[in-house]
Structure formats: structure tokens, C-alpha cells
Point group: C2
Chain length 371, copies 2
């Protein structure tokens, strides 16, 4: 007996068709061929996906639980999404809602190296929510981005991350930008006494990511941002293993809205492969996630998650996307203390008063009283 | 003046809201901050996305064309999808329909190294459609997969590809499988005189992909399969550059059905970053793509695509997913000669008569008369 992954799908079907459709997906996500044509008993017993449960959610929607062999995944997170949802992502009638992963996979992927507690310790941010802003717009030369980062850091932010659109572009090559911003933020941190981190965005092939990691490490940086759905989950995990001292914020770009449930993809899977913090679009901003979805993402990132005597460290939820100073109390009421608030454009809109606007943000977070 | 990418979106909106929504997306996919807060003239002129055209398609659907700076992409295909659709993939109301890419990007990515003509030459397949089958089920040991590959190759297939679920699993480690299958197929090809290719599926991080490329090359293999949406487009291109002699079939797993139009993603973007053949779910099989979508994918893969005096080679369309011998004439009528037909499970269902079923398939393709 092998232990199984339990993949949980939501499928649009009718009462008459759901049993067949569930079996089809179980086959599609495992052997992908007519089961009648399989003669090997071991494959039939251990590899073919098994429909474990079908629950009618009403309105033509069903929740289907399918047991998938953990052997088909091995220890590669790219292969995990391949087996969970690869071909089924091409079907319009099914979304991947969640998955329960057995111990060997939790052990193989192991989760955040630092997580919530590690980030709190580094950022000297006990007993309060964390704060973050974003360096933009792209198109500015490194020197001007560094000047913005400096003025933001004077406002005592915890993290200043690159806009996810920044990569290794001619108008601000990665090495120049990282060197300039790291120095600028360190200079400001010396003045404020607060250990603000500059968090560069790493992009490109694994080779490029690795070169950028080296540049970042040489500039004294200990936190970076990666976009797992563009970089590839396998490469993200590889990098995490090679640079265990680096904390990682995961960016949701290209993660889609509709096919893999965001709480599973961003909150659980990104966390599992090592994201210490997960950025996601907060409700009521520029994006359309509901408050329930956002709460579920935060819960997935933070919930206790144990295997054997080990545990997967919590990752810090980072709601973002059109947030403003005015929303700070409401967001802290909603998310509590274990959150990193990210306000980007609204701070940059303050122009010459960037430091003051940033200070107002960090003060509002520091002084908030949880009721 | 920089040249621009023209990204083409389909947006659900009303006549009253579409102009604002189009501007929001233009900003989201470029500077991602309030434009009023940008003071640098160069950024405003050259980097901020520009709405170029809004067309009412009726029924609450609009086609919006947005000019994006090619400078923001550089020469990284991961960054190309990031700028085309990264954050907007998180919105429910917009899909990426297509993009017109300026010369510098076409030059940087350069398309298939072999393409349709190269594959035809290698496979001695002039004046007819090409044929392919898939090795399954996963769970079988390397030796048994090799035996299946041998019997299929006796039926004179052009390509025998790994099931996309096969990776580097304990029940059939990559190196063992590739060695065994390459030998088995070479042995059969010697008997038939037809140069059948075994096409292994490469998976994992760029390091793993590279190691697997080496194993494949050492086994005398010249065609491999990669899943660009799991491996990451940047890694796929990197590998293509390092192994120019390898032809690549791109697998659509995790490519989604609904957010990036399949003709653009599979037919155009996969081709652009070097896929010599693009596998996609054919209409009327296990998947729900319409015949129009399939025709559009095939056209996108094959259409003339020129820049300056260069051209992007055509990639061969590979419709698949539940196909059968009975459908061969209809598929050839539909796709014409420039296609590689892929029948997997239906051949394997023949059991002990695998070679005969395969022969019937390749004969039906070879003897088909285009009317």
C-alpha cells in the first residue's frame, strides 16, 4: 500500500454524469489511458487514481475527492502540480480546490525556512503587524529607485520590495539596482535604527535566478521575491534549498484567478515549497478576490501544519493591490497581527512627502490596538 | 520612441466602464501605480501602457489593444508573460487573446530550431501527415515501457513520446527508462527501416532538465518533450539554446483553459520560444476545446511569421487526447498534411496486437489521399 495524495476538485456536472466525470478525472490525473487496457496489477492497485468521495454541493456543483499515488510525484513540486491539475487545467468544468498531502511530500518540500517567526525576529517586529511597500515605477534608473527606497526606509518600513515588473532591464539592470537600493536602504536604516529590508525581485531561468541570488547576497540582502508560477515551482524550491539563509516572498503573478483555488495555490502550495511570505490581492482593492477568499488564503498560510514530530512553519500573508493608509485599521481588524500590510502606489503618490506618508503608515500599524 | 508590444485582451465590461477598465489594465501591466504620481517624462512617454483601441464585440465583451513597452521585457520569455498577463491573470473579467510582438522580441526568442521542415526531414515523412503515440501507463518499470515502445515502433510510427505524467519516478527512473526505450526503439527501427524517434519527457528544475538532456543525448536521442508552463518559459528557452540539435515537443499541461487563449499560448508563444511541435487537446476527444479553437491553434503554429529578412519556422500541430484510428480520415481532412496525429491509449488498448494496431494507424495516415 502506498500512501495517497487526496486531491479535492470542484466539478460542474449533473447527478447523472458526475460519477463518470469523477472517474475520468481520476484516470486523467494518473495513468491517462483506458483502465481496461492496463494489465499490471500493481498499476491498477497503486497508481490509477481512485475516486474516494463525491459530494453534491447543489446548483450543479460537486466536490470530488480523488486519491493519487504519491509515487507519481516523487520529490518534484512541478510534478506535484502536473499530477494534481496538469491536464485537468485544460478542462473548463473543473477547478482544483485543495489537496491533502501525505507526510513524504511534506518532508520533501518542508515549507518556509524562516516563516512568520523568522521574519518577525529579523525585522524586530514583535507584537504588531509587519509593513511593506513596493519600488516603482519601472522605467526609472537604478539611482532614482534607490532614492525612493531611501526615503521610504526613513519611514521605518519593514520591507521594501521591487515591483514585480522589475527584472533585469536595460533601464535599471538588476545588479546596479540591487547594489544601489541595498546601500540606500542600509543608509536609511542606520539613521532610523530600524532594520528595514530591501527585497529585490528575482526573474528569469534558474541560472539567472541563481546569479541574481549571488548579487543579492553579496549586497548583504537576506530577503528576496520570486514569482513561482513564472519561475516554475521546481526552480523556486531548488533555489530555496541552495540559499537557506534567504527569506522568500512569493508573488502571485500569472497564478490565474479561476482554475486553482487561491487559498490552495498561494496559501498552501507556495508555503509548502518554501515561501516565507505570500503576496496576494486584497479584497476591495484593484483585484476581485472576495473577503472570504482573502481570509482563506491568510488561514492557509498561517494554519498549524504538522507531519510526524515536524511542522511546516507558518508563512506571513501579505495582502496588497491598491491598498491605502485609510484601510490600515480595517485590514488589521480583518487579518489580526500576523500579517504584513503592503501599500505601494498610495505611498509613492505622496511625492516629496514620501517619508512622511510612509511614517504615517508604519505608525498606524505600530500604534494599532487590537480590540 | 521605443517599439511596442501590442497586447490584445478580451474584457467583460459595460459601455460606461470599458474605457476606465482598459486604462486600468494598461497601467496594471506596465507601471502598476497611479500615473499621476509619476513625474519622469520618459516613464510616462515610453513605459506606461497605452490603450490603442477598444472594440465593442457585443454581449458585454470588448476587445482592447494595449501598447506595452518592449524594454520592460528585455529578452526573457518569463518576463514577457509577466508583462502581458501577470497581474491581470488574477482578474476574472479579462483574458489575454493575442499579442503582436515587435522585431526585437522575435529576434531574441527566434522560434523553432527545426520546426515542421526539420522534423519531416529527420523522420523521412514527406508528403504526408506525421504520426505519434504515447508510452503509458506510469507505474510500469522501464523494461515494460521499453517493450511497449518496441512493439509500437514496429508499427512504423514517427514519434513515441513519454506520457507527460512520467518523470523521474522510482518505478521507472529517467535514466533507466530513456536508455531502455531508446535501445528498444532503435532495435525496432532497424527492423522496419523507418527512423522512429523515442521522445522522452523532461521534468523538474533547470538543473534536472539539463541532466536529463545529457542522458537523452548520450542515448542518441534528438527529440524531447517539455511542459513549458511547469518548467517555466525562461528555462525552456535556455535549454533550447544550449541544445540546438534537439527538437522539442511542447506539452500543454497546466496551461489552463480559460485565461490565456490557447491559440496564442500554445500556438504562438510556445512556438516563439522554440517548440518544434505543439501538443494540444483535439476537439471531440477527452477535452472541451472547440473545433474553431483547434483550427486556430494549428494556424498559429503554422502561419508565416517574418521579421526583417528572417522568419520564425512553423511548428507542427499535434492534436491529441482521446483520439482513435477511426478519426484519422476526419482529422486529416480537418488539419491537412501539416500535422502530427497522436493516438495513445487507443493503441495501447490493443494489448498483444499493439504492433498491428499501430501499423493500421501509420498505414491509414500514409495512404490517405487528400481530396
Amino acid at each position: 500500500m502506498t500512501s495517497r495524495i487526496e486531491a479535492i476538485y470542484r466539478i460542474r456536472a449533473s447527478g447523472a454524469t458526475i460519477a463518470t466525470r469523477a472517474r475520468q478525472i481520476a484516470v486523467e490525473q494518473s495513468v491517462e489511458m483506458p483502465v481496461e487496457a492496463i494489465t499490471a496489477a500493481r498499476v491498477l492497485d497503486e497508481i490509477v487514481g481512485q475516486v474516494r468521495d463525491i459530494r453534491d454541493l447543489g446548483g450543479g456543483l460537486f466536490e470530488v475527492r480523488i486519491g493519487l499515488s504519491v509515487e507519481t510525484v516523487g520529490d518534484d513540486p512541478g510534478q506535484l502540480v502536473n499530477m494534481l491539475f496538469g491536464n485537468s487545467s485544460l478542462h473548463d468544468d473543473v477547478i482544483l480546490k485543495d489537496a491533502i498531502l501525505p507526510e513524504p511530500l511534506l518532508q520533501a518540500f518542508a515549507g518556509p525556512g524562516h516563516g512568520l517567526a523568522g521574519l518577525r525576529a529579523r525585522l524586530k517586529a514583535d507584537g504588531r503587524a509587519l509593513t511593506c511597500s513596493a519600488l516603482k515605477p519601472q522605467g526609472l534608473p537604478a539611482k532614482e529607485l534607490a532614492a525612493l527606497a531611501h526615503d521610504m526606509a526613513l519611514g521605518r518600513l519593514d520591507c521594501i520590495k521591487d515591483d514585480h515588473g522589475l527584472s533585469n532591464q536595460r533601464f535599471s539592470p538588476f545588479a546596479d539596482r540591487v547594489q544601489a537600493c541595498a546601500e540606500a536602504v542600509a543608509r536609511a536604516a542606520e539613521k532610523t535604527g530600524h532594520p528595514t529590508r530591501y527585497v529585490p525581485s528575482l526573474t528569469g531561468s534558474l541560472d539567472a535566478l541563481r546569479q541574481q541570488m549571488e548579487v543579492a547576497r553579496n549586497a548583504g540582502i537576506d530577503t528576496v521575491m520570486i514569482a513561482p508560477m513564472i519561475a516554475g515551482l521546481s526552480n523556486g524550491l531548488q533555489l530555496k534549498r541552495e540559499y537557506p539563509e534567504m527569506a522568500v516572498l512569493a508573488h502571485p503573478t500569472l497564478a490565474g484567478a479561476a482554475r486553482i483555488a487561491p487559498p490552495f495555490l498561494l496559501g498552501k502550495l507556495f508555503r509548502l515549497v518554501g515561501a516565507d511570505g505570500v503576496i496576494f490581492p486584497n479584497h476591495g482593492g484593484r483585484f476581485s478576490y472576495s473577503d472570504q477568499t482573502c481570509r482563506a488564503i491568510a488561514r492557509a498560510a498561517l494554519s498549524p501544519w504538522r507531519y510526524g514530530k515536524q511542522q511546516i512553519a507558518p508563512a506571513i500573508p501579505v495582502p496588497a493591490g491598491g491598498m491605502s493608509l485609510e484601510r490600515v485599521p480595517e485590514m488589521l481588524r480583518f487579518y489580526g497581527m500576523d500579517v504584513m500590510l503592503l501599500i505601494g502606489g498610495a505611498l509613492l503618490s505622496a511625492g516629496a512627502r514620501l517619508t512622511q506618508a510612509t511614517e504615517a503608515f508604519t505608525r498606524a500599524v505600530a500604534e494599532y490596538t487590537y480590540g
